[in-house]
């Protein structure tokens, strides 16, 4: 790995163990109505070659977190505090120039809607070649050859001719492949995929996820996979963070989260997945209510307004005391450990079959 500019403070050994460490991240937007706490004290780690799934509803702060990692927020109305340490380098408060050099080269992003996320005015090849020319100092010719190579790698047929096509001449799945090619053109160490399959057909979804996985095995990049679809992370992620109202409410391996989830919100997410094998007459069980306003989030546990199990916690702890997320596997919930297990086994699991 090439050494980048050293951060002012040497990272503590504990932090440098991980390729990406996010510690106590707060992202706040100043709006006319007040301050929106989009991310509210989030921490997670990611190692090379690993995939971290970040799951949550719309507005739970998933995308904002990752835009903050890349430094793509609007500096005029956004305040970011906390630490984002990528390969030993502190990214919060880093200058635009520093971030510009890292973006596309060391960390890259795959966006959700490839039709709007690619510029309609330039050919796919040019858009792939651009960061290669900028970061690798390649000539136009070399960059074009690289773009063709990348298109071939992501499985676009006849890349020599398709390289000169415009995004609107590609199908949705091909556009998403091209976007992945664009993100991977400089062999980044971290790829953030923000709902990369949401706008695609189910069959194409599987292809794209396989592609990401294959490319990860070839290059050993770390991937953050943002999604609201637990089905997507089931086959791709190693670790999972469940986010609610800008906070991580549960953390664990993908097996933990899918087989023995502990947080009532994670139960709700699992319960809302339609199953082909389910009885057609049994309605889906959506989570009641709607996501809280981040302008004025509920006191205590942010999920208590929608939680069916607050009665089992003594007193009004749920509405007054913010539950902490333990390090490693665990969930931010006031329910006792055996209560969580019993409720899941007795009430939740039978509904999931």
């Amino acid at each position: 790995m090439t050494t980048l500019t050293k951060p002012e403070a040497e990272p503590t050994p504990q932090e440098s163990e991980h390729f990406l460490s996010v510690r106590d991240l707060y992202v706040q937007f100043a709006t006319e109505d007040g301050i929106v706490k989009a991310v509210d004290g989030l921490s997670f780690d990611l190692d090379r070659g690993q995939t971290l799934g970040i799951v949550g509803e719309s507005g739970s702060g998933k995308s904002v977190t990752n835009l903050a990692v890349l430094g793509l927020h609007n500096p005029r109305n956004t305040t970011i505090t906390g630490d984002i340490i990528l390969d030993g380098q502190e990214l919060t408060g880093a200058s635009d120039r520093t971030l510009e050099k890292l973006r596309g080269k060391k960390m890259a992003m795959v966006f959700q809607d490839s039709l709007t996320a690619l510029s309609p005015y330039y050919t796919v090849g040019r858009q792939i070649a651009e960061p290669y020319m900028k970061h690798m100092g390649a000539s136009k010719k070399e960059a074009r050859a690289r773009a063709i190579e990348m298109l071939a790698r992501v499985g676009i047929p006849q890349p020599q001719t398709r390289v000169d096509d415009f995004p609107h001449q590609f199908s949705g799945g091909m556009r998403q492949r091209a976007m992945i090619a664009m993100a991977l053109v400089c062999d980044p160490d971290l790829v953030i995929a923000d709902e990369p399959t949401t706008a695609l057909d189910v069959t194409v979804q599987a292809q794209i996820l396989d592609l990401l996985k294959d490319l990860q095995q070839e290059t050993g990049t770390a991937i953050i996979l943002i999604t609201h679809d637990l089905g997507v992370i089931a086959n791709t992620a190693d670790d999972v963070v469940v986010m609610y109202a800008g906070r991580a409410v549960e953390r664990g391996t993908v097996r933990d989260i899918l087989k023995t989830p502990e947080h009532p919100y994670a139960w709700g997410l699992l319960g809302s997945i339609p199953r082909l094998s389910a009885d057609v007459d049994v309605p889906l069980a959506p989570i009641p209510g709607s996501p809280p306003s981040l302008l004025n989030p509920p006191s205590g546990c942010p999920f208590h307004t929608r939680c069916a199990f607050t009665d089992l916690v003594g007193g009004d702890r749920c509405s007054t005391e913010r539950p902490q997320l333990p390090a490693g596997r665990g969930s931010a919930c006031h329910l006792a450990q055996d209560q969580k297990r019993d409720i899941f086994i007795e009430q939740i699991q039978p509904r999931l079959r």
Binding site: A108, S119, Y121, E130, F166
Partner: protein
């Protein structure tokens, strides 16, 4: 691209034929009788009036007159009185019996230069102001620029024209008073004489273009593909010019295409303000004299100019936005 242009040119020809036909036939609905305007003292004698009518070709059926008129433009023709009128032939002026084309040829460079120069001026100044405002969004420059452009919007050419002459020509001596261009014989003086009229004419367009450009740029800068470009590590200036401006340019050009008519209108008022001799003043004179062939010729000429510029604008649009080419 070739197919696109062919289609647009064919469409333009249809439009021009329609315009010419409608204009030509409309003149015959008018109460004015050209023969009676030309007969002078002898109007009491019906034979004289009839002779004039035959000389002007007015005894023929309207469609035949129209046919001779239109073919004359492309091939030239022999007028009913036996004189030859070389192509492009727009006939004779009823007012002074002079051929129309030489007069037109004399006048159009002024109007065309004004329209082109004025457009260039307001595109550069208006779009430039808008881009700076978008770049400085919310800062002092943004606010000052929007106030200045509002000022531009609320003045008129015939008001600022004399003021500008008094200031820049008479007091400061920086610029020359407006004069008709003679591009072939004296390009330097022609340019010099057009700077002030073009700038004055451009003022009324500044505010529209700077405001439109600003909002288009701000809108473009919030697009997803801008974020993608930044996520690739492209610099903010690069993104601003290559991505945002490219997107805004398509819309700016569309607005320009719509404004072409008012550009010619502005050129006419500017001609009058700066005492220039262009098509605008020619049109007004010919209307006052009920000089139908001259009105017709000016009308056809400016309509053709607008249609041609529209094709240029559409072609530019297709070059900027690749999605148009196939559509």
């Amino acid at each position: 691209m070739l197919r696109f242009l062919t289609r647009r040119v064919l469409g333009a020809i249809v439009i021009l034929v329609a315009i010419s036909a409608v204009t030509y036939f409309l003149f015959f609905v008018l109460p004015a009788n050209p023969a009676e305007l030309a007969c002078g003292k002898n109007c009491a004698n019906p034979d004289v009036v009839h002779a004039i009518k035959i000389r002007m070709g007015l005894d023929q059926p309207i469609y035949a007159q129209y046919w001779h008129y239109m073919t004359g433009i492309f091939t030239g023709r022999t007028m009913p009185d036996g004189q030859h009128c070389p192509a492009p032939c727009f006939g004779y002026s009823f007012a002074d019996s002079q051929m129309i084309w030489p007069e037109l040829k004399d006048r159009y460079p002024t109007t065309l230069s004004l329209a082109l120069g004025g457009s260039a001026a307001f595109l550069i100044i208006g779009v430039g102001l808008g881009m700076l405002s978008a770049w400085q969004q919310g800062k002092t420059f943004d606010r000052v620029a929007s106030s200045i452009s509002l000022l531009g919007n609320s003045v008129q050419i015939y008001f600022i024209g004399p003021l500008a002459i008094a200031l820049f020509v008479n007091n400061l001596g920086w610029l020359k008073n407006g004069s008709d261009p003679t591009w072939t014989s004296n390009p330097g003086a022609s340019l010099n004489g057009l700077i002030l009229p073009c700038l004055v004419m451009s003022v009324i367009f500044w505010s529209n273009y700077s405001r439109q450009t600003r909002s288009l740029m701000v809108e473009q800068l919030s697009e997803d593909h801008i974020r993608t470009a930044r996520a690739k590590g492209m610099g903010s200036k690069y993104v601003f010019y290559r991505y945002a401006l490219r997107g805004a340019a398509a819309s700016i050009i569309t607005i320009f295409g719509i404004d072409l008519g008012s550009v010619f209108g502005g050129a006419i008022i500017t001609e009058a303000t700066f005492n220039l001799h262009g098509l605008g003043t020619l049109a007004v004179e010919s209307v006052n004299k009920e000089d139908l062939p001259m009105e017709m010729a000016v009308m056809l000429f400016s309509a053709s100019a607008i249609v041609i510029f529209n094709i240029v604008v559409d072609a530019a649009y297709a070059l900027i936005d690749p999605r148009i080419r196939l559509a």
